[in-house]
């Protein structure tokens, strides 16, 4: 006797709810997936992100493995083979000094990607700490810290990095990392502050304080782990910026010193001969674009995978 199917359904639901809550033989028999497995499944269904991940891994493998297997000295000068067009012996050709570009691009990639990752980690650490403190403490401190950040935002990116390098007086891997971090941690700090502020209003934070949790426990146990999803996405959003910034500085001749090279300085080498030997500038440029695009698509896929509520677009 189903007079009103909707009502019937509702009653069944309530009965089911009630059973779960008030009678106690029912256990947790339903197979469930964890948050991370869920996210991985969603990521795997995102074709663009998967291709990007494959491309990213391929690039990393290239820069890691090639220097071990190529039989050339990356810095040996041999003018008899300068400007060799790409062949099987030299897949990417050679430069003015007869150095193999397949090998040098891989070595340059090590520096570019290395600076990219180191810079990103540094940006995350600085940005998360700054943003979390501002957002967590709030009040006048938050205000002061954010106005300071606004002032820094007003300064252009490049001069900031150049001035930092000038202060160090020397350019190497680590000073580059510091310079790029100093110039680009602002956005992370802002986003983290926003995250912490919105998380701080959560009932479970109040509940934690209601059972006497001290501030550091609230911050490190209850707030920061909840920002992990955002942090992971931000790693892949910041990475391209750092790689690009490093390439930019190196292209202008402010980066890594010769004979070492990064993708930016390799592109700079090819810049003068771009009419006669275009591959010299094209190859490192493509490498930079390859890395940046794949990182962006990975970030995009991760964002969709980690936040199921914004899945509508997929």
């Amino acid at each position: 006797m189903v007079l009103n199917p909707q009502n019937e359904e509702l009653r069944e639901l309530t009965v089911a709810r009630e059973r779960e809550d008030t009678t106690f033989e029912a256990g947790a028999a339903i197979a469930q997936t964890s948050l991370w497995r869920d996210a991985a499944r969603r990521f795997a269904h995102n074709r663009a992100a998967l291709i990007a991940l494959f491309a990213f891994v391929l690039m990393v493998l290239y820069v890691v493995i090639v220097p071990f297997v190529m039989p050339y000295d990356p810095n040996a000068v041999d003018f008899s083979i300068s400007y060799v067009n790409p062949t099987w012996a030299h897949p990417f050709g050679t430069d003015e000094f007869g150095r193999d570009l397949f090998l040098r691009t891989a070595l340059g990639g090590r520096i570019s990607i290395g600076i990219g990752f180191a810079g990103t980690v540094a940006i995350m650490v600085v940005g998360i700490l700054y943003g979390a403190i501002a957002g967590f403490v709030g009040g006048w401190l938050d205000n002061a810290m954010m106005r300071f950040l606004d002032a820094l935002y007003g300064l252009p990116y490049l001069p900031f990095a150049i001035i930092t390098l000038a202060i160090f007086g020397t350019v190497n891997f680590w000073t580059m990392v510091v310079a790029l971090t100093v110039a680009s941690w602002f956005t992370t700090a802002r986003v983290m502050r926003g995250q912490i502020i919105s998380l701080k209003e959560n009932d479970y934070v109040r509940a934690a304080r209601a059972v006497g949790a001290r501030w550091y426990r609230v911050l490190f146990r209850h707030l920061l782990p909840n920002t992990l999803g955002v942090v992971i996405v931000f790693v892949f959003l910041e990475l391209p910026g750092v790689v690009l910034g490093e390439a930019f500085l190196s292209f202008l001749g402010l980066g890594i010193n010769p004979p070492n090279a990064s993708w930016g300085s390799l592109a700079q080498d090819g810049y003068t001969q771009y009419l006669s030997h275009p591959y010299i500038i094209v190859i490192p440029s493509v490498a930079i674009a390859w890395l940046i695009l794949s990182a962006f698509f990975i970030a995009d896929g991760l964002r969709d995978a980690l936040d199921p509520r914004t899945q509508a677009a997929a």
Partner: protein, 339 residues
């Protein structure tokens, strides 16, 4: 023996752009050991702010202007943050309205349960875990042992509220403040939670404050009831007396707005709503705060000129009105007045 908790003339104001919001304005009450006090009132009457003032968990723009919160002869309003942290969770615990958001989604139930115990009691990891299982069993979570390592999203709303209760009870507090403990739950689950609270109150020999807008909730579980209106207590007496002989027009109106099934002759047709809105808590009138909505106001008894004092009409029955039900002569009843 003095009462466990004595709140005396508590005033908590929020600063806003327009001036101070008088959220709690001179509230006094006492909670005896082993008893339950119900605080009833509509949204924004200051009942939650009263609770948060006791706990010292007020928002940054709120401050306790005056008054005392004496808990076992210590004035909680004068304690430092650190001292308060040691009391919260250990001596006074609180459960909140929405169990769906009161548990941290990134931590397991077991961790959130043991966290409090390890904070306040000197327990090892294993001991805390054992106790956590006992607690989950005590609040009737099935298969407690295996569900300890689950994340909150695998628990239903009612079960999460049970976990919140277990967390609140984990250190055997002397006072449990339940702020709208059943409001966010299905009707079918509400009664179970209320029964559980009462059962645990007796087992653990606690006192309880239940804050609610639902007269039905306090009718079942409270010994004493304080009715709040616009930041003040307007009527305070034991539960039986309040339901049998309500004196304040607002209490009468609240009871009139309660649907009843048992007795068809008492109330037929539409529920009586209370006309008007509560006063602006920034710009309070000099009159009785309920006067604009009160059917008995404007009878030359001065209640539109000044705020009536809380007076003891009968032993143990406090009321703040110029015309309590028992002193009215030929006055229209609330239902007639609003018709």
């Amino acid at each position: 023996m003095t009462a466990l908790l004595e709140v005396e003339d508590l005033r908590t104001y929020f600063s806003s752009r327009r001036g101070d919001v008088h959220a709690v304005d001179g509230v006094s009450f006492a909670v005896e050991r082993g008893k339950t006090l119900g605080i009833v009132g509509e949204s924004g009457c200051g009942k939650s702010v009263t609770a948060l003032s006791i706990m010292g968990l007020l928002a940054q723009n709120a401050r306790i202007v005056s008054g005392a919160v004496r808990f076992e002869d210590r004035d909680l309003t004068r304690l430092s943050d650190r001292e308060l942290e040691d009391i919260r969770g250990r001596q006074i615990a609180m459960i909140f309205q929405d169990p769906m958001t009161s548990l941290n989604p990134t931590l397991t139930i077991g961790l959130q349960l043991t966290e409090t115990m390890r904070r306040h009691l000197d327990l090892s990891r294993d001991e805390a875990r054992k106790r956590a299982i006992e607690l989950l069993e005590e609040v009737h979570i099935p298969n407690a042992r295996s569900r300890l390592d689950d994340y909150p999203h695998r628990y239903s709303g009612g079960m999460r509220q049970r976990v919140m209760i277990a967390i609140a009870l984990s250190c055997n507090p002397k006072l449990l403040i339940a702020d709208e403990p059943t409001t966010a739950l299905d009707v079918t689950v509400q009664a179970g939670i209320l029964d559980l609270l009462e059962e645990l109150r007796d087992q653990h020999d606690m006192s309880m404050i239940i804050i609610t807008h639902d007269m039905g909730v306090v009718a079942e579980s409270a010994d004493d009831i304080a009715v709040m209106y616009a930041g003040q207590i307007v009527e305070h007496t034991n539960a039986e007396e309040l339901f049998d002989h309500p004196e304040h027009p607002y209490t009468e109106a609240l009871l009139g707005a309660l649907p009843q099934l048992e007795d068809e002759t008492v109330r037929q047709g539409r529920l009586t709503a209370i006309p008007g809105r509560p006063p602006d808590l920034v710009d309070l009138p000099d009159s009785c705060r309920f006067a604009p909505r009160c059917p008995y106001a404007n009878r030359n008894d001065g209640c539109t000129a000044r705020t009536p004092e809380l007076r003891e009409l009968r032993p143990g029955h406090l009321v703040r009105t110029a015309h309590p039900a028992s002193e009215r002569q030929g006055a229209p009843s609330m239902a007639e007045a609003t018709r």
